[in-house]
């Protein structure tokens, strides 16, 4: 099963991070086509037609998101969400570091489409190298007239500001990102108002993921209708999957949505489990979605199939566990992450992740108690759907499924500590 490379088409070309090679490989043709031959509305229409869905995790249709901008003459902003921090996900990073001009072209083309003169690219604090590369890319593109006061001689103005965050998972949540971008502590804002009506500096704002904006480049190049032919009806186009964990060839793979199963991705592209081992489970969409057991690995990688299988396509970060991995250890490691990254704004997430982490740690370190499973489930019930932003639900998605799918492991973890098995199992 081959990859289908649109975004990564030229990623292995030496020197593609520089503008000369990028242009030689056809770069900036989409931007040129958009600003010279198309009206902003034409570009929006192509994106609508393409059925592109947001690649950050939620999968919201991009064209529709753009259409929410009020037509009231106020200044608009485009913000590129480059806060990629989801455990298991490193696809945006690859775009930013290796083909920065693709992202920049996508940002400029999209800014033109939504009639924003100013776009912001927000990078997570750890992407220092990417920040330098993108900065260089912006300077190169400016020198060639792709941005500035007179884009490609059209008289249009397009500006891009690059911003390096302070390193916080929560800033991947779009309103927390806007808070951080405005110079404040990254904490999610109350919605409504939604960013489309009142976002950055209280002005209409679209926030899109790096991969989403990069995908606008091939969409403009091939036309939305052509792009929509890729993938399935609900899940059009190609998607990047970051495969990590117990596979022989971890890495980023670009495949057509719905045309490849999870098993095919893991076995054919990623090389299968290490010799002598078998897969135990995988989290297909970044650490914030439920586990899939191997008997569901024949599920196609698209939004609706994954949902039917009881999980989510999410960010496309596939974390793979083989038979050596402890589910309880893994759950603790994930909970440590969410406890560490909880912003502290709302009670259930702030206190709940701490509590869950402490209880899991006890179980792992040999101090599990009778009743702990009930406690875990009770705590998750108090978090589920009751937090201020999706981080709380994200924190318990994997643990909840782990308790359903691998309850025995939790039970034996506690029972191994001299508690009667049948009591623990309750």
């Amino acid at each position: 099963m081959p990859e289908r490379r649109l975004l990564f088409e030229h990623i292995d070309v030496p020197g593609i991070e520089g503008i000369d090679v990028y242009e030689r490989e056809g770069g900036y043709r989409s931007l040129r086509k958009a600003v010279k031959e198309m009206s902003p509305d034409d570009v929006v229409k192509e994106v609508m037609t393409s059925n592109l869905r947001g690649r950050g995790g939620a999968g919201f249709p991009t064209g529709r998101k753009w259409s929410f901008l009020p037509k009231d003459g106020r200044t608009r902003y485009l913000v590129c969400n480059g806060d990629e921090s989801e455990p298991g996900t490193c696809k945006d990073q690859e775009i930013i570091y290796r083909i920065p001009h693709l992202l920049l072209e996508g940002v400029l083309t999209s800014a033109y489409a939504i009639e924003a003169e100013h776009a912001f690219i927000y990078l997570r604090g750890e992407f220092k190298g990417g920040y330098l590369r993108l900065g260089r890319a912006i300077a190169e593109a400016r020198a060639k007239g792709y941005l500035g006061d007179n884009v490609l001689g059209t008289g249009r103005r397009l500006e891009v500001t690059l911003y390096l965050g302070a390193g916080a998972y929560i800033c991947g949540e779009e309103t927390a990102l806007l808070e951080s971008l405005e110079g404040r502590r990254g904490m999610p804002r109350l919605k409504p108002p939604f960013p489309a009506t009142s976002g950055l500096y209280d002005l209409p704002t679209v926030v899109n993921n790096v991969e989403t904006l990069a995908a606008v480049v091939p969409i403009v190049a091939m036309g939305g209708a052509e792009y929509a032919k890729l993938g399935t009806k609900e899940s059009a186009g190609t998607k990047l999957f970051s495969v990590s964990g117990n596979v022989r060839r971890p890495g980023n793979y670009e495949v057509e949505l719905g045309k490849v199963t999870l098993g095919e991705l893991l076995n054919d592209l990623a090389g299968g489990p290490p010799a002598g081992h078998t897969f135990k489970a995988a989290i297909p969409g970044g650490s914030s979605v439920p586990f899939l057991p191997p008997d569901k690995f024949d599920t196609p990688l698209d939004y609706e199939s994954m949902r039917q299988a009881g999980t989510m396509l999410g960010s496309g970060g596939v974390i793979v566990l083989d038979d050596r991995a402890s589910i309880v250890d893994t759950s603790l490691r994930l909970m440590e992450f969410y406890r560490h990254e909880s912003c502290g704004k709302c009670t259930p997430c702030r206190e709940g992740t701490m509590w869950l982490e402490q209880a899991l740690r006890r179980m792992v370190t040999g101090d599990g108690r009778h009743g702990d499973l009930k406690t875990l489930e009770g705590l998750m019930a108090h978090i589920d759907g009751q937090t201020f932003c999706p981080l709380g639900d994200a924190a318990i998605a994997a643990l909840g499924s782990a308790l359903r799918l691998f309850r025995g492991e939790f039970v034996s973890c506690i029972a191994a500590q001299d508690h009667p098995l049948e009591e623990v199992a309750q």
Partner: protein, 725 residues
């Protein structure tokens, strides 16, 4: 109106009402922690989640507005479980040190735990340990372990007070509230955070460990420190005021106080008080009984006599004082305006504090809100945050940090000209606005005239409020403590006395520091045949008196203060009275030979000054008066932090050090720089250089002893020879 159903009950509310408040109106309680009616909702604590039909998840009642036909349930199993969950989470890290916590008994965490928590915590992990009993500033102590991170304090300071002195530090479960890096919590609004803290995380340092709330008596009162007239409640034990909290009032203070008001009761019990009438015999003041003191006062107030002051006593006392002076003494020489106050608002155009909410333009003319009426600044900032236009026309910038001050200017003279002619940006905005509120400190003839012009120029609603003065200056004006047709004003009386043309003078609740021209005062005192002083505390003026009449402080008697909008506001007696002090009104009732009780006095006041008690008080503004003129080249400012007759051991820490401000060119000419110390009369003052002052000018605040003379020297050309260290 929007109709919805809450727990099966039909409810009708205004559009935009939050589910939480719709439920409250229907008598259904939804528990909260982070919600505060005077702060914007954040939805952080998750205590108020309710079930709304057709919504997939529980929704926060404090952030969700009602919709037509909405069906809300606050009593379903999932809602109850959610309450239990939040309580469990909050208590998991809470130290449960209620027995030694000042908030015990008035703690929202305790209350909600009683009603919505479970009996037992499942939390079996170690509790966190954080900062306890940390002094954040002079008034506020922080216990981070008790904090439930409702963010009320942070939101109040940042959004309402415009001073982000408190911030969150760290993240997630390590998140704590603390002062911002490099700050101490010295905001004059800091005390509000104590009151809005739902738990014992922020507590009052002066009140710490003083009492349990169930042992306290609560008495309604009004703040005596500035003419805003904030509503407050005294907490008393055994007749002592142990703390003051604000009372919410839509019209006036929205539940806020400044720290001058919140902690400004120290002089009542902690400092020395005048407790017995005194009469001078053989050069010594000796205690006498009231009958004798009254007799001495009557005898002394014969011939050519006058009276000064009265802006700090009750309306009832002011009313009887005026009647006694008129009917008993027969003098027209009376003036409450010891401090410079022009107060020239045409009747029927007196603004109201809630005009701030509806005026589309607020002009603050030469007003130092933080010094003279701090709480008003919070309301102004609130409307400015929502996009309203606030224009500060001032040579001095002493407002809260405020958004949307696009038209702020420092050139007062030019702006006044523009406004009175409808020219320029501000003048145009002034003409266009459908409703304008002018705030003015009541000083300066030029501004007074410009305001009169402005009122003539505009057709639409134009209102003015005098922000300066004392807590009851408006009452004094309304009660008639102003010179009669042939009467002398304050300055006139002092000049007459200095010439030996005034025999006797009664001074009510003022001390030397209140007088801007202290040399003139000294000259007057040295020639007076008779000086009577009525007041609360010993003072340098009282030491000179021939008869001293000890009066109740405001917490010890019933009365009214009339605030800057002409609203008579009742305060009630609570504290026990020291020694033989009399209610302020009783002194004058006695002098009039009226055997009246308080109710009788109040009846007379209401009959004769009905406009102060009317619902629509716009009809009762004080009449225009002549103004006070300061020394040339000097600016006399006022401040509620002036200690004077209400000195305060508690607020010492927040009283700014005495300073004299110089325009940069004047400072340069005098070889003075920021921070230099000036020796002035009995004390010292620090030099402040303010680029916002007009060229060549010197500014000082009333209440600084010896400053008048020093300022005159600094402002004069001979200032170069002044004693500078």
């Amino acid at each position: 109106m929007i109709s919805l159903t809450i727990d099966g009950r039909e409810v009708q509310v205004e559009p935009g009402t939050l589910i939480l408040n719709a439920a409250r109106q229907a008598g259904i309680e939804i528990p909260v922690f982070c919600y505060h009616p005077r702060l914007a909702s954040v939805g952080a604590c998750r205590m108020c989640l309710v079930r709304v039909e057709k919504m997939p998840k529980l929704v926060p009642a404090c952030t969700t507005p009602v919709a037509e036909g909405m069906v809300v349930r606050t009593d379903t199993d999932d809602v109850m479980q959610s309450h239990e969950g939040v309580m469990d989470f909050l208590l998991s890290t809470h130290p449960l040190d209620c027995p030694i916590c000042d908030a015990g008994g008035e703690c929202e965490l305790q209350d909600n735990a009683m009603r919505y928590g479970s009996n037992q915590s499942r939390f079996a992990e170690p509790k966190r340990h954080l900062k306890k009993a940390a002094e954040l500033g002079p008034m506020v102590e922080l216990d981070q372990e008790r904090c439930i991170l409702c963010l009320r304090c942070i939101r109040f300071m940042r959004e309402e007070a415009g001073d982000p002195a408190l911030t969150l530090h760290e993240r997630g479960n390590h998140t704590v509230v603390d002062v911002a890096e490099g700050r101490t919590f010295d905001s004059i609004f800091a005390g509000n955070t104590i009151q809005i803290c739902p738990v014992g995380a922020l507590t009052s340092r002066p009140y710490r460990f003083k009492a349990r709330p169930w042992d306290l008596d609560e008495v309604d009162s009004i703040c005596p420190h500035c003419p805003v007239g904030c509503h407050m409640a005294l907490s008393l034990r055994h007749g002592d005021v142990l703390r003051i909290q604000s009372r919410d009032s839509d019209e006036v203070n929205w539940g806020w106080l400044c720290d001058r008001g919140r902690f400004g009761y120290g002089f009542v019990h902690q400092g020395p008080r005048l407790t017995r009438p005194l009469v001078r015999r053989d050069g010594e003041q000796v205690p006498v009984d009231w009958r004798e003191a009254i007799a001495v006062l009557r005898r002394g107030m014969t011939g050519t006599v006058g009276a000064l002051g009265g802006g700090r006593v009750s309306l009832e006392a002011q009313y009887l004082m005026r009647r006694w002076l008129q009917e008993g003494v027969g003098t027209a020489h009376v003036d409450h305006r010891v401090q410079p106050l022009t107060a020239a608002i045409p009747p029927a155009q007196v603004g109201r504090i809630d005009d701030i909410d509806t005026a589309d333009l607020v002009l603050a003319l030469d007003v130092e809100l933080l010094q003279e009426a701090p709480v008003l600044g919070i309301r102004l900032r609130h409307v400015a945050r929502n996009g309203r236009k606030i224009v500060s026309v001032s040579a001095r910038r002493d407002m809260l940090d405020m958004p949307h001050q696009e038209l702020a200017t420092q050139d007062v003279a030019k702006t006044l000209r523009d406004i009175s002619r409808g020219e320029g940006e501000i003048g145009q905005a002034f003409l266009r606005a459908s409703k304008v509120l002018i705030l003015w400190n009541g000083r300066g003839q030029a501004i007074s005239e410009a305001i009169a012009d402005a009122h003539r120029l505009r057709q639409g609603d134009t209102y003015t409020m005098v922000v300066g003065g004392l807590a009851n200056s408006y009452g004094a004006e309304a009660a008639g403590l102003v010179p009669g047709p042939s009467g002398l004003d304050a300055r006139g009386m002092l000049e007459a006395a200095a010439q030996g043309e005034l025999d006797g003078l009664l001074v009510v609740a003022q001390d030397k520091r209140d007088f801007p021209d202290q040399e003139l005062l000294e000259a007057a005192l040295s020639r007076l045949r008779f000086l009577a002083v009525a007041g609360f505390v010993p003072s340098d003026l009282q030491e000179r008196a021939d008869v001293v009449l000890p009066l109740t402080a405001w917490v010890e008697a019933d009365g009214h203060f009339v605030n800057m909008e002409g609203r008579a506001q009742r305060y009630f007696a609570g504290a026990s009275r020291p020694g033989e002090v009399w209610e302020d009104w009783r002194l004058f009732a006695e002098l009039l030979d009226y055997d009246w009780d308080y109710d009788r006095v109040l009846e007379a006041v209401r009959r004769d000054l009905p406009e102060l008690f009317a619902a629509d008080r716009r009809t009762g503004g004080p009449a225009p008066r002549g103004g006070y003129v300061g020394q040339p080249g000097t600016i006399v400012a006022a401040s509620i932090f002036h200690k004077g007759v209400m000195p305060d051991p508690l607020v010492q820490a927040i009283v700014p050090p005495p300073r004299i401000f110089l325009a940069p060119d004047r400072a340069g000419a005098l070889h003075l720089a920021e921070g230099h110390i000036l020796e002035i009369g009995p004390g010292k003052a620090e030099v402040g250089v303010r680029p916002d002052l007009p060229r060549g000018s010197v500014m000082w605040r009333i209440g600084l002893r010896g400053a008048g003379r020093a300022v005159a020297v600094l402002a004069s050309e001979s200032g170069l020879a002044g004693k500078v260290k």
